[in-house]
């Protein structure tokens, strides 16, 4: 127990050192599917953040009552509930965005980031730690999604959040907003992150 | 092109293979020279594929020329004879050209044997009957061959009595005598066929009788016209045919010569006897004739000493156990740019560096290549051009096997039939990326063999 990370550590870890997308390669389905515009990416990250926060806190609250073999069932139940709530809210108040995100909001149910956090952190630590962990991981997820989405939106449409930022002569790289663009951008960013980490690690040992 | 031989369905060639430059002109027109008896010979106790032999003599014991000094320890093993008269020295462990460490019996020469033309006549001259051979019982022929210490002289050194033994299980219908010397440079078999076709014919008749073959055919490549003519003349009236096959590497491979002559494929992992064929080298046939008719053992053989790194490339009749260094000296020494000594030919032979390394029964030649010839191209990445697939006589995918082997992937190399490779080197010769394919495959085969054993 004593060697589990503290709340602050959990928070910081989630953002970069244990970034769910770049370091853990979790939640890749939405990462690839909804990052063709920054707005969609932020909405998605927000929805995941909401579900993650609620699921983490509830899991943490009941962690002492739960037998290990029941935990996945309960996690899924909790997650499914909050995903449905998030989905309904989006459909009610952000109808166009909900249409754009399509099936990917309901698919948060099977997003492995949330199950992973419930399992790794929330089922072992207090609600406070679980909550900061959820915020940290959501921020990390948001940063990852936004970075990919920003690159794709700028290259693919010459705009960011719908505002044109490239000169009018900019030829839109259509492929970047198509699925292949997601794979390319993600792969290259992942490679860059690994490259930087490897270089920093190399310097440390040298 | 076909064989144009009655009863033989082969097309005279096989699929794939390569056409490396022959370099045979260095020594092909040099008549065999007889080497003076060296001061010492070193006889390895392991001269053949199969088990080694057990020494029957003690140090300081005097032995006569042709006296038995070693006895085979198993069925696939044969007798060893003193190739010179003299005194046996203490056994020494030596590294043979093929890299194996073996106990050897050095013999210090003391006493006389015929020399020069006399020795040649003693071994290959005389009367070689082609009729009246019915007097020799098949079982006796095989026994005499074993007592003569014969192994395949083409290079593989498989004990001949095993191959030529009469067998009820796998009836033999055809004896093919292998006169294909497909390795570049080497000309020892060629010279023997030209200069001494008669013992070859007699030996073939005896071996054919031993295995019960109905047909006997000698396969010779079409770049050896004088040898073909000599053999045809010597074989007149005996029923032995000469099959002229296409010059191509590795035509001398057992399986590929069978394919070229009778169009049968020896099954993977099988022996020629599986398709009713016995096969032996021309030099072996001459030795068979001598062992059966004159009861004389194998003590000398013809060796090509050739290559750009030899001052006077020649074909030499030398005692088994002579050192390669002595052979080189007899042929004028090495040129200044000599860079690699190879026991055998450049495609499948073994490079060695110690000039004291002894000649064994299976040594068909010594090829010394020059600095320029062995300059290896720089290895680049495989671009999967498939040229190795186009030349592999076993119809394998060498690059895949080599890469599987490089990554120590035994399952993958098995899937690509790594064990079918007989390391002929066609792929590595052709590879534009200069990848050491054979070396990699050889390592892979060893790994597969280890995995099979455990």
């Amino acid at each position: 127990m004593a060697d589990l990370p503290t709340a602050t550590e959990r928070f910081i870890n989630g953002i970069l050192p244990e970034n769910p997308v770049y370091r853990q390669l979790l939640g890749l389905c939405p990462t690839l599917a909804v990052t063709n515009s920054l707005k969609a990416a932020i909405t998605m990250a927000g929805a995941v953040g909401f579900v993650l926060l609620c699921a983490n806190v509830i899991t943490s609250l009941i962690r002492n009552l739960l037998k290990p073999h029941l935990r996945i069932v309960v996690f899924t139940l909790t997650i499914a509930t909050f995903v449905t709530i998030a989905d309904r809210f989006l459909a009610a108040y952000l109808y166009q965005m909900s249409k754009t995100l399509g099936p990917y909001i309901p698919l948060i149910i099977v997003n492995c980031i949330i199950i992973c956090r419930c399992e790794v952190c929330a089922s072992k630590q207090s609600p406070l730690v679980a909550a900061t962990d959820a915020v940290g991981q959501s921020l990390g997820f948001g940063i990852a999604l936004s970075s990919i989405a920003a690159i794709r939106e700028i290259l693919g449409t010459g705009a960011l959040l719908g505002l044109r930022i490239m000169p009018a002569s900019w030829p839109d790289w259509v492929i970047m907003v198509l699925p292949p663009g997601a794979f390319l951008t993600f792969g290259l960013l992942l490679g860059t992150v690994n490259w930087i980490t490897a270089r920093r690690g190399g310097k440390k040992t040298a | 092109m076909g064989l144009k031989l009655e009863d033989y369905t082969g097309s005279g060639t096989f699929a794939h293979g390569i056409h490396p430059p022959g370099h045979k002109n260095l020594s092909q027109d040099e008549p065999v020279r007889v080497m003076p008896t060296p001061d010492t010979v070193v006889l390895s106790l392991h001269q053949n594929i199969g088990g080694p032999c057990e020494p029957l003599v003690k140090p300081r014991q005097t032995v006569a020329w042709g006296e038995i000094i070693g006895k085979g320890t198993s069925f696939v093993s044969t007798t060893l004879h003193a190739s010179v008269p003299g005194i046996v020295q203490r056994p020494v462990r030596m590294t043979l050209a093929n890299g194996r460490h073996m106990d050897t019996l050095p013999i210090k020469t003391e006493g006389e044997i015929p020399s020069g033309r006399g020795l040649w006549d003693e071994i290959f001259g005389g009367n070689w009957p082609v009729t009246g051979l019915d007097a020799y019982e098949p079982a006796r022929i095989s026994l005499a061959i074993n007592e003569g210490g014969l192994v395949g002289l083409g290079g593989a050194a498989f004990p001949t009595h095993v191959k030529i033994a009469p067998s009820d299980k796998k009836p033999i219908h055809t004896l093919i005598v292998n006169g294909c010397e497909c390795e570049p440079y080497l000309t020892s078999d060629y010279r023997l066929m030209v200069e001494a076709p008669w013992p070859i014919i007699t030996g073939a008749l005896l071996a054919g009788r031993s295995v019960g073959a109905k047909r006997i055919v000698i396969g010779v490549e079409d770049n050896k016209a004088p040898a073909i003519a000599a053999l045809k003349r010597a074989a007149e009236g005996t029923g032995i045919k000469v099959a002229v096959v296409k010059t191509k590497y590795p035509q001398g491979s057992e399986k590929h010569l069978i394919q070229a002559v009778i169009k049968r494929q020896v099954p993977l992992g099988g022996l020629p006897s599986d398709v009713g064929v016995a096969m032996s080298n021309v030099g072996t046939m001459a030795a068979v004739a001598r062992a059966v008719i004159y009861k004389k053992p194998l003590t000398h053989r013809v060796i090509s000493v050739t290559g750009g790194g030899i001052v006077n490339p020649s074909n030499v009749l030398a005692p088994i156990g002579v050192s390669f260094g002595a052979l080189v000296d007899f042929c004028g020494g090495l040129t200044p740019d000599a860079a690699r000594m190879i026991a055998g030919g450049p495609m499948m032979g073994f490079a060695f560096s110690n000039p004291g390394t002894p000649v064994t029964k299976g040594t068909s030649g010594l090829t010394v290549m020059t600095r320029d010839e062995v300059k290896a191209g720089e290895e680049t990445a495989c671009i999967r051009c498939g040229k190795c697939v186009d030349v592999c006589p076993m119809n394998l995918v060498p690059t895949k096997i080599a890469m599987a082997s490089r990554h120590q992937d035994i399952a993958l190399s098995r899937r690509y039939n790594i064990m079918a490779c007989f390391e002929c080197g066609s792929c590595a010769y052709t590879c534009p990326a200069h990848i050491p394919l054979v070396q990699l495959i050889r390592a892979g085969k060893a790994r597969v063999a280890v995995a099979d054993r455990s």
């Binding site: - | 699929a15 090495l334 000599a338 495609m347 300059k375 498939g386 697939v389 534009p432």
Partner: protein, 325 residues
């Protein structure tokens, strides 16, 4: 101590190595690349003749882009320069020949960087790539800048060259049902990507490659056979609108693709059987794409798709060893 090779040969220096000791020095990877370059001469010449400045411009952009990309990316990996092996030059020229001359400079540049970077280096450099680099680059810009490529490049009315202002034969047929005469397709006096217009030039270069055994004949043979069969069936089944199987063979980038793109050894199967399957599969896909898809031409996507199948084809076509069952 100096390395052995530098010591003057005053005395024999014996060293050992495993067999075989004889190597065919005449063939090397570089030599194969040079062969491809020689084979490309008629194609490049024809494109320079038909498109003049446009061809020269596109060649310069793509060649420069590919060489620069190779230099930069290989340096990033910390490897010794691979410019000398010639593969970047081949990729550059094939890429230029597969683009229309009117494509703007950034199209060629981006295509070149994508071809070398994402098509080749990312997989580990020459010999490792799964997809034909030039086609990866072309596919990227084709999807990204369809407007600047085949789809509308020919609508550049400001062009001085007559041929440029016409639709490509494939487009003219697909959209307006206009059939270009066979002679134009054969000689190459039509619009299109730089290298694809002249069937004659592609045939000449292709035959050279096949005779030199730098490209295996099985791939173009399989490809053209498949197109003949499917095109023939389409001829018999479809309405007689004048676009015959011969138009299919001579038109578009079929011959260029068959001889120069599909035959890329790295991305095609190893065995003769595999190569034939690869060729036939590519030919079939080309015809399916041409006849049923929205695109007028299908060579690029067909080749890329079959590239992806190459490892599988290799696995299916493990040859039976000599003496095996």
């Amino acid at each position: 101590m100096k390395p052995i090779d530098e010591i003057l040969p005053t005395a024999p220096v014996i060293h050992v190595s495993p067999s075989p000791h004889l190597v065919q020095t005449a063939s090397s990877t570089r030599r194969m690349m040079v062969d491809v370059l020689i084979a490309l001469v008629p194609v490049v010449a024809m494109s320079l003749f038909v498109f003049r400045g446009y061809a020269l411009f596109q060649l310069a952009v793509c060649l420069g882009g590919c060489l620069l990309a190779e230099l930069v990316f290989v340096k990033m990996r910390g490897r010794p320069s691979t410019l000398k092996d010639g593969s970047a030059i081949v990729t550059g020229i094939i890429l230029a020949m597969s683009l229309p001359g009117t494509a703007p400079w950034y199209v060629g540049t981006i295509a070149a960087f994508v071809a070398i970077g994402i098509g080749k280096i990312i997989f580990g450099g020459m010999g490792m790539n799964l997809f034909n680099p030039a086609m990866v680059g072309r596919a990227f810009v084709m999807i990204s800048f369809a407007g600047a490529l085949a789809a509308s490049g020919f609508e550049d009315v400001r062009s001085a060259v007559d041929a440029i202002s016409q639709a490509t034969p494939m487009n003219a047929y697909k959209i307006n049902g206009v059939v270009t005469p066979l002679t134009h397709l054969f000689w190459g006096t039509t619009n299109g990507s730089l290298g694809e217009t002249s069937a004659l030039a592609c045939l000449l270069g292709g035959l050279y490659l096949v005779i030199r055994r730098t490209a295996s004949w099985e791939i173009p043979a399989g490809l053209i056979a498949a197109v003949l069969v499917l095109g023939g069936v389409a001829d018999l089944a479809g309405p007689a609108d004048g676009w015959t199987v011969l138009h299919h063979i001579l038109g578009g980038s079929l011959l260029f693709g068959a001889f120069f793109i599909a035959t890329d050894p790295v991305t095609s199967p190893l065995t003769p059987t595999g190569k034939f399957i690869f060729g036939a599969g590519t030919g079939m896909l080309i015809m399916v794409l041409r006849l049923f898809s929205g695109y007028p031409e299908g060579v690029m996507f067909a080749v890329l798709f079959m590239n992806a199948l190459t490892p599988l084809i290799n696995r299916w076509s493990i040859p039976t060893p000599f003496g095996g069952k």
